[in-house]
């Protein structure tokens, strides 16, 4: 059988598109865990962002306002989570699950109230994120196809990796943030306003989650479906775990999940049943965590022996 380069390029393209939403949310998880916050509410936050981007989209027809609506809603929700967890010291897991369920309810409720529909909303008047076409590169055979149709937010996701890396490892602020995560008590005794840093971090991480949500509702498809996030917020927690909360590590682990999802999608057209292909990302998550853990345990053992 002849190897079809063009088909492979299409799959690479789909991998990139599947990676970027997870990457953005995983970056949010990474910065949060740098300041010792476990944000399980990202699933519901992302869902709300995707929903409100479509609402703003419908009423304004403006890409900018849609993106802003997504970011604003996810920052607001993240701030609420931050307030409950940091100020009121409530259980992060319970708050997160409450938010996730609530957002499932809020989006379905408003979907029905505003658009008189349950399940899916799509409309010809909705605009999608502008696709970037790179002048010379798009004519190169393989790379052109692999990068075709990517939006500005897709590229932004990769820029964010670099920006967050610089922020965390090359600035004084980043140093302080990491100090909060390593030892909150020590940081506090040095006069760092720990709670303020934590609150600002989780609130600003809402920007990343919001952008991730926009990529779900306004990129490859322009619509809102109930539970459009389908566990990406949870997978991001696993990806963050795998990537060791480091921007570059997170880049690789997000790619891994993007690849799994792209493979799942590509296999949908084969004899394999949807239930099998759709469960690939979740099974892959568990397997990846196991492999990572075995690797880590072996490393620790070697260290001990030396």
């Amino acid at each position: 059988m002849e190897f079809n380069m063009e088909y492979f390029a299409v799959i690479v393209n789909s991998m990139i598109r599947m990676t970027t939403p997870i990457l953005l949310v995983t970056l949010a998880a990474a910065v949060c865990s740098k300041v010792k916050i476990f944000n399980i509410a990202m699933e519901g936050t992302m869902l709300a962002a995707a929903f409100f981007s479509i609402v703003a989209n419908y009423y304004t027809g403006s890409v900018l306002f849609s993106v802003l609506a997504a970011i604003a809603s996810s920052m607001l929700i993240s701030a609420l989570v931050g307030y409950c967890v940091i100020r009121l010291k409530a259980s992060a897991v319970v708050v997160g699950m409450a938010i996730n369920t609530m957002m499932g309810g809020v989006t379905t409720y408003l979907l029905y109230l505003i658009f008189k529909t349950k399940g899916v909303f799509s409309d010809p008047s909705l605009v999608s994120l502008p696709k970037i076409s790179l002048p010379i590169i798009e004519d190169i055979p393989f790379i052109g196809t692999a990068l075709s149709g990517l939006t500005i937010v897709d590229y932004l996701a990769f820029v964010m990796v670099i920006l967050i890396y610089i922020l965390l490892y090359k600035t004084v602020l980043g140093f302080r943030l990491r100090a909060v995560g390593i030892n909150p008590e020590a940081a506090k005794s040095l006069g760092t306003p720990v709670e303020k840093y934590q609150f600002l971090t989780i609130t600003l991480s809402g920007v990343l989650i919001g952008l991730g949500g926009v990529l779900l509702s306004m990129s490859t498809v322009t619509l809102f479906i109930q539970d459009i996030t389908s566990g990406r917020g949870y997978i991001a927690l696993a990806a963050n775990n795998l990537g060791n909360s480091h921007p570059l590590g997170v880049l690789f682990s997000s790619f891994f999940f993007g690849i799994c999802q792209a493979i799942g999608n590509a296999l949908q057209n084969t004899a394999l049943k949807t239930q099998v292909t759709a469960s690939i990302p979740y099974v892959a998550t568990i397997i990846a965590l196991i492999i990572y853990s075995v690797h880590r345990q072996r490393k620790n053992k070697l260290k001990k022996e030396n």
Binding site: I40, C84, L88, K89, A90, S91, V93, V94, V95, M97, A98, I99, T101, M102, G104, G105, V106, T108, Y109, Y112, L113, G231, Y234, L237, A238, N241, K273, Q275, V276, A278, S279, Y282, V283, T285, I286, L289, I290, S293, V294, Q297
Partner: protein, 347 residues
């Protein structure tokens, strides 16, 4: 007095939750007083409403007990949803395949549901314990996988051969081996009695046996527990297997009591497992409290579908109210806790 005090927080949270729910309803252009009173009468007001609510409460009670056992012992498992699905699926297959008199088939299929829940829980425990992973993430992933397994089986392996609607994802109808109704003409079934028994059993285990004490210690502080001679790994298996058994039984009762078959999404769409966690939270993991809170939460949902029918208010408003109540309880729990600490310091 102590009892009253522990009731104060959930009750205040419920009232505030309903008020905010009323506000949301008012903002959506409906009459909030009509809606909230409709919610309550629609959930508890008539024999039909009450029996529907108790039927709906049954799987929530099981999920709540399963959750409380795990969380109360310090193992944050969200696996009840997946374990219920597996319990329901296996029960639906066994009840059709197994020969014999109805009562024997019922017992065997309930037991197989319990075993399925335990087996599915075992996978999560083993993976978590063996590779030192987060139980929370593993159980979440296992829930998605269980959902797809259920859907796959109902679509291809044990699909209803007599189904008129070929798009319906469901298994064959169970003819004989079903749980009897408690009141003729209403949905309430014997699964509710099993839920009462399970509640009392867990109450007894948690409060009165050394196992209950050890379970709590094992989870709260594994180092301390190991020191005190309680093997925390073993304890984790015991506690979470029992939790899985309860969840599996909940799924099994739902099949044999209400649906008489496995239907795709029958456990996950109504959100039984999450309601169970809210119930255990509302009652601070107390089994009797879970029983009562589950009925309240189920009533909210029943009332929600009632006002959707009568007034056109989307029933999802009850999900929002549930979320608000949960947030209020977790947040306020801390406020009271802080006050206590402050008092101590001042003394």
């Amino acid at each position: 007095m102590k009892m009253l005090k522990s009731l104060k927080l959930p009750l205040i949270s419920i009232v505030i939750g309903l008020v905010i729910g009323g506000l949301i309803i008012a903002l959506s252009g409906f009459n909030p007083i009509e809606a909230i009173s409709g919610l309550i009468t629609g959930g508890f007001g008539t024999t039909y409403a009450l029996t529907t609510t108790l039927t709906r409460a049954t799987p929530i009670i099981f999920a709540g007990l399963a959750g409380a056992l795990a969380w109360g012992s310090g193992y944050p498992s969200l696996g009840a949803a997946g374990q219920m699905v597996m319990g329901a699926l296996v029960t639906s297959i066994v009840a059709v395949v197994c020969p014999g008199p109805a009562i024997v088939v019922i017992i065997i299929s309930l037991l197989s549901g319990i075993l399925a829940g335990m087996a599915y829980s075992f996978i999560s425990i083993w993976v978590t314990q063996k590779f030192q992973l987060y139980l929370l993430i593993i159980t979440l992933m296992m829930n998605y996988i269980a959902d797809y397994i259920g859907s796959y089986f109902a679509s291809y392996v044990v699909k209803d051969p007599n189904g008129l609607d070929s798009s319906a994802i469901q298994t064959q109808l169970i003819e004989e081996a079903i749980l009897p109704k408690l009141i003729k003409g209403y949905t309430l079934h014997a699964g509710f009695i099993i839920a009462i028994v399970a509640t009392l059993l867990i109450f007894f285990i948690v409060k009165k046996t050394t196992f209950g004490y050890k379970a709590k210690m094992g989870g709260l502080n594994s180092l301390f527990a190991d020191y005190g001679g309680i093997k925390s790994t073993k304890m984790m298996y015991y506690v979470l297997l029992l939790s899985g058994a309860l969840a599996g039984l909940g799924g099994a009762c739902e099949v044999l009591g209400t649906r008489y078959r496995f239907v795709d999404g029958m456990i996950t769409s109504p959100g039984y497992a999450w309601s169970g966690i809210i119930a255990s939270l509302m009652s601070n993991n107390h089994p009797i409290g879970i029983f009562v809170s589950s009925i309240f939460l189920a009533g909210l949902t029943t009332g929600g579908s009632s006002i959707e029918r009568s007034m056109g208010v989307p029933s999802e408003v009850t999900i929002i109210i549930q979320g608000i109540i949960t947030l209020l309880i977790t947040a306020q729990f801390v406020i009271t806790f802080k006050k206590k600490n402050k008092d101590k310091q001042e003394v």
